[in-house]
């Protein structure tokens, strides 16, 4: 059964259990991807994904069905990720991070595309949470500037600035690691 998003929202509101399942199956990959990108922990990401959908299904009756549902879900997920990160910051750190990670990689074949992706993955994980969130929403989730600004409740200019700084940091990190093309 193929159903567009507004119809799906209406079906969920009417209490159709199959529609609820369809909604979760359609969007849980996107939500989990963002949560995993933000939290870097599989179990935490699954917990936050579950919490995101529970909150969304609870608040689906107040959702404006004229809006697209994907940015709304990502907005809830981003808020839950920020809360989870804040809770994590209060916990004591287990071990100090090694300081010798920014040196050039002596391995041959860094120009290999897989290694390039891995290097960028490593650099993204070192970004600040706000920059990482904006970078992931833009480049991974393909949201526009306006949708990201709406999701994060920030001005569009702030989102652009954060993305620009994130890219600059990523490019600098790759250069420090000796990644060249």
């Amino acid at each position: 059964m193929t159903m567009d998003d507004p119809t799906l929202v209406k079906a969920v509101r009417s209490g159709d259990p199959q529609a609820t399942r369809l909604l979760v199956e359609r969007f849980h990959g996107i939500v989990f991807g963002l949560c995993y990108r933000m939290l870097n922990h599989r179990q935490d990401a699954e917990d936050v994904t579950q919490e995101t959908f529970l909150r969304a299904l609870r608040a689906i009756f107040g959702f404006d069905s004229a809006r697209p549902i994907r940015p709304w879900l990502l907005e809830i997920a981003a808020n839950r990720c920020r809360t989870a990160l804040a809770l994590r910051m209060r916990r004591p750190k287990l071990a100090p991070v090694s300081a010798a990670e920014d040196h050039a990689d002596p391995r041959p074949g860094v120009n290999d595309p897989d290694n390039l992706a891995g290097e960028l993955e490593r650099a993204v994980n070192r970004l600040r949470p706000e920059y990482r969130l904006v970078f992931s929403l833009y480049h991974e989730q393909n949201l526009s500037y306006e949708e990201i600004a709406q999701s994060l409740d920030r001005p569009v200019g702030t989102v652009k600035t954060w993305l620009h700084r994130a890219r600059a940091e990523l490019a600098e990190h790759l250069a420090r690691r000796g990644v060249e093309c």
Binding site: T20, R21, V24, E25, H28, G29, F32, G33, Y36, R42, E46, T49, Q50, F53, L54, L57, R58, P113, D114, L116, A117, E119, L120, E121, Y138, H139, E140, N142, S144, L163, H164, R167, L170, A171, E172, L174, A175, V179, E180, C181
Partner: protein, 286 residues
């Protein structure tokens, strides 16, 4: 073109890496030809600018890494198949938990409502606020039919009358107790006030002595009305003398041990201040 324009062009080029597939067709983003022209202009600028050459190299690396990153499948981000079932089960659990919470709260609410109704029924026939008895009123005076009768229900007049009489008795007894216990403090305060007025207004001291209630001073009228009247008050100087004598009789000189222990509290002697450098004659100069 300057360096800032070069940065902006590279941001546009990196923007196009993610949204070009979806948005170029709708005309919201710059077309590939326009982007290629801008990239060419940035390259031309970077040839003559060492800073922008480095920036361009870094952004070029980032662009290739982005392409590899977006197209690569990340195995760790594959979903566990049980996640959907877990979400749906959590939603059912959450809704049933809410319903269970409402069901559990229902008898509690009914019990609270019943208790509230019972309290309202018990309190309704009683007089709500009996008449306040003034301090000067007669003790045990039974309230008249007009006093507080508007608030009192008319079906039980004997009970309300007995209750009002008991309340009047209790109020009068409280006032008597307060007056008795505060009498020494009032007498002492009155003595202090009298002595102070004699010191500050010696010309009117005679009037104050002639009028022991202190009614010559308008500010004291209210105080003297409140304070109980004492028959005879000693003059202020004699009272102060008595207090000073008592203090001097009770104070003893410090022992040597106490003097050593608390010697740091002593005021330095005047000889030291006389020998201070400020008073010494200048050794130099005129």
């Amino acid at each position: 073109m300057n360096c800032q324009d070069c940065d902006q062009i590279w941001n546009q080029l990196l923007d196009a890496e993610s949204l070009s597939r979806a948005r170029v067709a709708t005309g919201l983003e710059a077309s590939p030809q326009l982007l290629a022209e801008r990239e060419q202009a940035a390259c031309t600028h970077a040839l003559g600018c060492s800073r922008c050459r480095q920036v361009q190299t870094n952004y070029e690396t980032l662009r290739r890494a982005l392409r590899a990153w977006v197209s690569s499948a990340r195995p760790e981000m594959t979903l566990s198949p049980a996640l959907v079932e877990r979400i749906l089960a959590g939603q059912k659990t959450g809704s049933s938990r809410r319903a269970r919470r409402w069901r559990a709260a229902l008898p509690l609410g009914a019990a609270v409502a019943a208790v509230a109704c019972l309290i309202a029924l018990v309190l309704a026939p009683l007089p709500w606020r009996p008449e306040r008895v003034s301090p000067g009123s007669d003790r045990g005076r039974p309230p008249g039919p007009a006093s507080g009768s508007a608030l009192r229900p008319s079906n039980r007049p004997s009970d309300s009358r007995v209750l009002s009489a008991a309340l009047a008795d209790a109020t009068a007894a409280t006032w008597d107790l307060a007056r008795t216990t505060s009498e020494p403090a009032a007498r002492l305060g009155r003595q202090v006030l009298t002595s102070a007025t004699q010191v500050e207004y010696p010309s009117r001291a005679g009037a104050s002595a002639a009028d022991p209630a202190g009614s010559s001073y308008p500010g004291l009228d209210s105080l003297t009305g409140v304070l109980p009247v004492v028959p005879q008050a000693p003059p202020g100087s004699a009272l102060l003398q008595q207090v000073g004598d008592g203090l001097s009789a009770s104070v003893r000189p410090l022992s040597s041990t106490a003097r050593q222990a608390f010697g740091f509290l002593r005021i330095p002697s005047l000889e030291k201040t006389d020998n201070s450098p400020l008073h010494q004659p200048a050794s130099k100069g005129a």
